[in-house]
Symmetry: C2
């Protein structure tokens, strides 16, 4: 019985995944190619597909099979799919199914409707720089998020833990506070030292860079990094993203700035890092719920590893800077390598998270985590939020927000009810460096390889240790297994302090 | 009860349409942007979507509602959607539902499987120019098509009628033979006269035309014709097609030939004609089974009207030829208008249908219709087919097929089991000219309008008379209503003989 039931379960799971992938195609098209007046039809098409995918996830037959398979003991040697991690599959699917089943249909519909209204209100409020217009929606989204965590079975005092666990299994308020508290203090102090130093000029950023040349350069870099154009694409969209449309179809997007030859490129490398993860899954996981990143934080570690640790390093740019110069001889002909490298790594704290440098970035995240924690603990109200935000910005980053648009209203996440999501960005930094230190120990000569534009060994290490496992290994298990210790600040701080002390002569 | 039931029925219909549109997005992406290795996942995604759309079409609740609504009499004044043609909706949906319900699930699956094998075999056989390798698959597809017509309830002696009716409601073997017999004789005789005349040179076709300039020109023409880029797109694909992804999202594709500045453009105008039809539906039909072309023949009349009747006319090219010259001054600078116009309308019979001129084209179709008719009547076997084909090609067009690839194996249709489809191409010509004659009577000065690049009055006429009705008017009703007579040869023959007698000095 075991194998028949398992086969049946995998079939149900696969159909749901196929529907989600179909929805992803529609979403990709919407961001990249949809004619303006097609949005209304598209929204209805997506609603139908997502509704059907949800129906399939809460199908009681799935629950029955999960129950039966829980009791059944598989024969010692499975006949066919001997490489498929069946126990992990059951654990993960049981979690997904359980979470989805616990939410009443009416509640799911209420959330979808509120989310639509809230996002529309946020867009308008940001345009008008008017937090007050958005506040009632934020209140509503917090309320719904609380209810969701309650439905999931979290105690009233630990609702935020439930939301955090959804994005990063195993890491709650206590664990994050223990990481983020000291991290904030270190970064705050270090940032003060840096901002006391003279800044590099980077005058070449204030010129014009033809978009189609940027595009050609980006495609050259992406191919050079090993992105397989037979298994993916690069397109343009207003906001860069990565999406998985199939085991052999992972697509990334970017956009180009007229006066900045690098922001488009760093998006390409960042999304490329996400794509390498998605493309590195073991074939046995194909079209199952395991063929995804194991957590938001681990996913973000891959994008940040490529974008920052590799993509903003000296060794990376040694061969690529001359190549970039060939595309823009007029703009960059007079720029020396060191000047360029310093400009790529300029630390200037500003109000906007997505434009932040490596040193400031985590402070933006910690601020958001602390706000969320207090909102859910009830020690901060929605009305008090903007003042608290602005005070913390000043305190942590030394930055004054000119208005709500570049302050509290800058991110889309809360308008979508995605509380507990932000921490994964900072966790990504920590994971990335802890992996990277181990990688550098395992593979001697990584810098030399980067200077020769050889990325194969790095890919192999990441694929073998992380990518191929998908969701079969939980993040806490993964970091421990690979680096032989729990997630900590050490590697990240070591990296930041070494790199930027040298850059700023500290 | 009536309105509640109707609302419920429309909801079921709408969900099915949304799924079909989602499948159309995936299919469009597959033809235009899918990374090569993504095909396998895509096939599975499409199978899931199409399976669900079919499930929704044969949902017994749909049948129950159709039955109830058949008996219910609607109140005299409908409260809301007073413009929605509810009776037509019931008639069309009842037909779609009935057809789908009559096919057993096992049979549908057998067809899908056989079709896959048959198409693969056809691709390989055409490559190898080896009809014998494809013959057993053709036999199978004919057998399945017979069965399908039987399931639909057609008598054993009238199975081909059933297939014809599926593509063009109301036109069977008898009606088509009555049209196509005389048409063949007229065209055969006229073609002989033409081919006895000296041919224009058209030397400018043997030069090189930059694809990106062709593309810019095509987009200029498409916009000039009134294609609204906010409600559609033009992309590139191996085979040009039109697809409807939503009420406000109709997309066309083309491809450019290096040595031919016009084949890409004529595809754009042809597909543009299909798109105008799809974009012209009345808003009340939105997301219902009525928001489609009413038949293949009527659809083809719209594409052929724009491509040939308008797109290959003197008046059309008066303003566009100077514009084309600007894009290609080196290649076309020395070409006079008359020389160009003659080259655009050269009549040279050849073996390939899709490359045929206006005079030859219908003969290719009539040949296929006659072959199909004899295959289904049992007066021709699959083994005898190539010889019969080659004899007819020689007889009707004076053409010798060099091999099976440019003969019997040239078209994809039969490999997909799409028997009864070909006639709609020739019917398209007949419908187009019968509409056009009426249009020219209703709107004086059409030629002058074309010379001024004014297409608005033509669009308005077509939209009002044809497009906005979608499937609410059957083709036979439509042609009678608009032109006050049944479909006949007269207008088409008048057009062909007038235009080409002048061109060839007959």
């Amino acid at each position: 019985m075991y194998y028949e039931d398992m086969e049946q379960l995998r079939k149900l799971d696969r159909e749901r995944i196929r529907l989600s992938q179909a929805a992803a195609v529609l979403h990709w098209d919407q961001e990249c190619y949809l004619p303006p007046e097609g949005v209304e039809d598209r929204a209805e098409q997506l609603a139908v597909l997502q509704g059907l995918a949800h129906e399939k996830l809460i199908d009681p037959r799935l629950g029955e099979l999960l129950d039966k398979l829980d009791e059944d003991v598989p024969p010692a040697v499975p006949p066919a799919e001997n490489e498929f991690p069946a126990r992990d599959f059951l654990r993960v699917l049981r979690r997904d199914y359980g979470r989805a089943r616990k939410l009443p249909g009416d509640f799911v519909r209420e959330c979808a409707k509120a989310e639509g209204l809230s996002q529309a209100a946020w867009i308008e409020a940001r345009k008008q720089k008017d937090y007050a217009a958005f506040a009632p929606h934020l209140e509503k989204m917090i309320d719904l998020a609380r209810k969701k965590a309650e439905y999931w079975g979290w105690e009233k005092t630990r609702l935020y833990d439930g939301l955090l666990d959804f994005h990063e299994p195993g890491l709650g308020v206590k664990e994050l506070a223990a990481l983020f508290g000291p991290l904030r203090e270190h970064l705050q102090g270090f940032l003060k030292k840096i901002t006391a130093q003279p800044q590099p000029e980077g005058a070449f950023f204030h010129q014009t860079y033809d978009s189609s040349k940027q595009d050609t350069f980006c495609r050259e870099v992406l191919a050079g990094l090993g992105f397989n154009a037979r298994r993916g694409r690069l397109d343009l969209s207003a906001h860069p993203f990565t999406t998985t449309l199939g085991f052999n179809d992972v697509r990334i997007t970017t956009r180009y700035g007229k006066n900045d030859p690098l922001s488009g490129l760093f998006s390409v490398i960042h999304e490329g890092g996400h794509a390498f993860y998605e493309l590195g899954m073991d074939p046995s996981l194909r079209s199952s719920c395991l063929a995804e990143g194991t957590s938001m934080g681990i996913h973000e570690s891959q994008s940040r590893l490529w974008e920052n640790v590799i993509g903003r390093s000296r060794s990376f740019w040694r061969p690529w800077f001359p190549c970039l110069k060939k595309y823009f001889p007029d703009q960059l002909g007079g720029t020396g390598f060191d000047e360029f490298y310093r400009a790529v790594n300029t630390v200037i704290p500003g109000p906007i998270r997505v434009e932040a440098d490596e040193v400031s970035y985590s402070l933006h995240i910690i601020l958001r985590f602390e706000m969320e924690e207090r909102l859910f603990a009830g020690s901060l109200t929605v009305n008090e939020l903007p003042a608290a935000w602005n005070t913390a910005m000043k305190d942590y980053l030394g930055v004054e927000c000119a208005d709500d648009a570049e302050g509290i209203l800058q991110d889309v996440h809360w308008s979508m009810g995605a509380f507990g999501y932000f921490p994964s960005y900072a966790l990504g930094n920590l994971y990335a460096l802890q992996f990277w230190e181990k990688l550098c120990t395992d593979i001697p000569g990584v810098e030399e390889a980067l200077e020769k534009q050889e990325y194969g060994l790095i890919h192999n290490w990441l694929r073998e240790k992380i990518h191929r496992k998908g969701r079969s290994a939980e993040p806490a298990v993964l970091i421990k297994e690979i680096t032989e210790r729990e997630l900590s600040l050490e590697s990240f701080l070591r990296y930041i302090k070494t790199k930027y002390s040298e850059l700023y002569g500290l």
